[in-house]
Symmetry: C2
Subunit: 117 residues, 2 copies
């Protein structure tokens, strides 16, 4: 068993300005998927992304929008979001506090976000 | 993209008395892993479990203990927990509010919890 807390984990900045905390990664032995916590500050718009693997997301706090092509979906605490492989997606945060969410991916797919940008 | 909210999702009871909300499951197309939300009421002790797949957990609210053999770890909001395949584990909730956590598993491993017990 491995236990950590978000507050004991280093936050890194992604190229698009999100903060990411790697909570459960292949480096501690996870065999299939990795769990991260993200925050997007008010007014920050992530870049539009598309990649061949999925995201499974759970929103912890804040308010935001996920855009996918012409589609826009508002998200808030308690929402779970599935973004399929090869689906366009872009995050926007508009609440007073940062938009915070858990995001799980297949292991090894975003190793480039494990280093300081 | 698929979006749901925990509050719009039916809660089921597990055989050991936890409540489970299936948020993102293979039934909506997830290719690799499934996301659920669990609550364990104060004083409820889940049964000791062991199975050949992992859990990746993020604690949303409440206070609890995870026991694994002789090991006991206190958990609270913001904690992330990795339980490895074949590792014993048992949840206990002792806070005033229910212990609530996200739990991600490889797809298809706990289909027996998708029906009313």
């Amino acid at each position: 068993m491995f236990v950590t807390n978000r507050d004991n984990t280093e936050a890194l900045k992604t190229p698009s300005g999100k903060s990411v905390w790697w909570l459960l990664s292949k480096e501690i032995g996870t065999p299939n998927f990795e769990m991260r916590y993200f925050e997007v500050e008010k007014g920050v718009e992530g870049k539009e992304e598309k990649h061949p693997f999925e995201h499974e997301i759970f929103v912890i706090k804040g308010k935001g929008i996920i855009k996918s092509g012409r589609q826009e979906v508002r998200i808030q605490e308690g929402d779970a979001v599935y973004i399929a492989p090869d689906e366009l997606h872009q995050f926007f945060s508009f609440g007073e506090e940062a938009l915070g969410f858990i995001c799980v991916i297949p292991k090894g797919c975003e190793d480039h976000l494990k280093k300081l940008s």
